[in-house]
């Protein structure tokens, strides 16, 4: 097994420039095994950019990224996915007209064994449906009527559930979640938060990008505060209040570096 003391993800001195704009300015980043790391920051602070750099959606100009101690350079999120890194996008990346099972397996479908699969490239629909049902069950999401129903017939929370279940089913290292509760009501947000904790309980680390302070403080083990293109500090939510966190990320208050960096 891997050494749990080596951080799951470690990024050092990441820089990304777009012309005159520096989106990431010598930023560091660290994700530990099995934790929920929340990433917060003001609009335009570059929190999405740093996370995109880690999953290969953008390629940094400088700096290095280590995953379990080994340097990596992803040219796309698809490459990151092959290493067991999954992303739940804010837009969910689901195809509305396709079924839940089809959506769970988009881009990694299972083919039938033998000649049917090899020569006729026939999909093993029963196997995919069985797997999808299993995964939704595990996460307590089986209130949908049928695994074959199109995603467009689901509620917002159910769709979020399908997207999270897809990521959880295939992630072996960590999952990036971009604003998973932003579009949801109170009850549905609660379900998604429980879902996030459930995924952590399975030993999969999570990077949670969110603006919602109560949600962040509830589920996060550590909070990465991003300001002006770089990591300002990482705090333990038990040591600070939400107002502290907001003060740090807006620059109203400066963290004591030694105490703040957990």
């Amino acid at each position: 097994m891997t050494d749990r003391n080596v951080p799951l993800v470690q990024a050092r001195g990441i820089v990304k420039r777009y012309g005159h704009v520096t989106a990431i300015d010598h930023s560091d980043f660290e994700l530990r095994h099995g934790e929920i790391l929340a990433v917060i920051g003001d609009n335009g602070a570059g929190k999405s950019s740093i996370v995109k750099a880690i999953c290969g959606a953008i390629q940094p100009d400088e700096g290095e990224i280590l995953i379990e101690g080994k340097p990596v350079r992803f040219s796309s999120p698809i490459e990151a996915r092959e290493m067991g890194i999954e992303i739940v996008y804010q837009t969910l990346a689901l195809s509305p007209a396709l079924s839940i099972a089809d959506n769970m397996f988009t881009g990694r479908e299972i083919r039938k064994p033998g000649i049917l699969g090899k020569w006729f490239r026939m999909l093993d629909k029963p196997a995919m449906e069985r797997f999808a049902r299993e995964k939704l069950n595990e996460l307590g999401l089986m209130t949908v009527q049928s695994i074959k129903q199109p995603v467009e017939t689901l509620s917002g929370g159910q769709r979020q559930g399908v997207a999270v279940a897809r990521a959880a089913a295939f992630a072996t290292k960590f999952i990036i979640m971009d604003e998973p509760t932003a579009a949801l009501g109170v009850k549905e947000s609660r379900r998604v938060l429980e879902l996030i904790k459930e995924v952590r309980a399975r030993g999969i680390a999570i990077i949670l990008i969110s603006h919602n302070m109560p949600h962040v403080f509830e589920v996060a083990d550590r909070i990465h505060i991003h300001r002006l293109g770089r990591r300002l500090c990482t705090i333990d939510p038990r040591d600070y209040t939400m107002s502290d966190a907001v003060a740090f990320m807006t620059g109203a208050k400066v963290p004591e570096e030694a105490a703040a960096t957990v």
């Binding site: 992303i87 837009t91 990346a93 689901l94 195809s95 959506n103 988009t106 209130t143 379900r191």
Partner: protein, 359 residues
């Protein structure tokens, strides 16, 4: 996820009240009319409209035009008449499912039939080789459309409007605007007319071209529904950005769709030689639009991601049945065109209506 789960430990204070909350969400008055049910059914199976219209028109023309319409011979004639446009509609369906459109399908088809004819009849190239060159040319022409759309990022409509002209001009140049006569084909390359041959089944003339069209539809239907590639084609038409994020190499898939459509057009080009008898650079000038007509009447959404390719077959058959029925009933040709026009408008209106379905 209707279970509120509010009692879970660690919830926010304000959420504690959820335990006692009303578990209902906003509800609509569930007074489903028969019309709602039809709308839902069609939303799940848009091809049903085409099947229904086809059956209805068969019955209607059977009554109006009688025996002459409903004979085995006439029905098989309808199949022959729609076979070429049917194949073009199959190619067109692939593209419309990706939310694109291809105005150049018939131009590719005629160009490839001219290339096959030039090589085999005029230049003495072995016919099978000439046919293979035509197939490769069709795939290349389609791939060119696909590359312009994905790499140069041009809209499909404009791209294929341009390549339609380009392919048509090449076709006139290569053929010298001259037809290749039927006798010359028979003498030098009879294989080019293979799909014009037929078998007689109880009075029905089933050409190999008709069999080929049906085989192509079945094959493409299988590919679209039972392979990963097919699911990706639908996902791209549904929401390209989402498909990309979910891990589909959308550009590569799109180029493969256009190339495959080009290949199907080239196959239709071979079959068209058997159907028409000669090779004419001026033939099928309206084929591009007729293929779109069949696709639309077949219930495939122009917005992409919805509808079955088999719908395009039914769409082509509906057009064929209308033309045959109205002709036998002695109605002027102009009213056939008039009727097809209304069919298109009604089909698109139905598509819009079923897309508005309340989930």
């Amino acid at each position: 996820m209707t279970n509120a789960g509010g009692s879970a430990p660690g919830g926010q204070d304000f959420e504690q009240v959820l335990d006692h909350s009303d578990a209902r969400v906003a509800q609509f008055q569930r007074r489903r009319t028969a019309l709602d049910r039809v709308q839902h059914l069609l939303h799940n199976n848009p091809t049903l409209v085409a099947v229904f219209v086809l059956l209805l028109s068969l019955v209607a023309f059977g009554i109006v035009a009688g025996e002459r319409f409903f004979s085995a011979f006439n029905l098989s004639l309808i199949l022959q008449q729609v076979s070429i446009i049917g194949m073009l509609a199959a190619a067109q369906s692939l593209i419309i499912i990706t939310a694109g459109i291809d105005l150049s399908v018939a131009a590719i088809m005629v160009l490839m039939s001219v290339i096959m004819g030039n090589l085999a009849v005029n230049m003495g190239v072995p016919t099978p080789l000439a046919i293979l060159v035509g197939f490769a040319g069709g795939a290349a022409a389609g791939a060119m459309n696909g590359l312009l759309i994905t790499k140069v990022k041009l809209p499909p409509f404009i791209t294929t409007l341009g390549t339609w002209s380009i392919f048509f001009a090449l076709n006139l140049w290569l053929s010298g605007a001259q037809s290749i006569r039927s006798q010359d084909i028979d003498a030098n390359a009879p294989l080019l007319k293979f799909f014009g041959r037929s078998v007689n089944v109880a009075g029905a003339q089933i050409t190999y071209g008709v069999v080929l069209m049906i085989a192509l539809f079945v094959l493409l239907w299988y590919m679209l529904n039972y392979t990963a590639w097919g699911r990706h084609v639908y996902a791209i038409g549904d929401d390209k950005e989402a498909a990309e994020m979910a891990g589909i190499r959308t550009d590569r898939t799109l180029v493969s769709v256009y190339a495959l459509a080009g290949l199907v057009c080239a196959i239709a080009g071979w079959a068209s030689i058997g159907r028409v008898g000669s090779i004419s650079p001026q033939s099928f000038y309206e084929g591009n639009l007729q293929s779109i007509t069949a696709v639309v009447i077949g219930g495939i959404s122009l917005f992409g991601g919805r509808g079955s390719i088999l719908g395009a077959l039914f769409g082509a058959l509906i057009v064929g049945v209308f033309q045959s029925g109205l002709r036998i009933a002695g109605v002027d040709v102009l009213w056939q065109v008039f009727a097809i026009g209304w069919l298109i408008i009604i089909a698109v209106a139905i598509d819009q209506w079923i897309r508005r379905v309340s989930a």
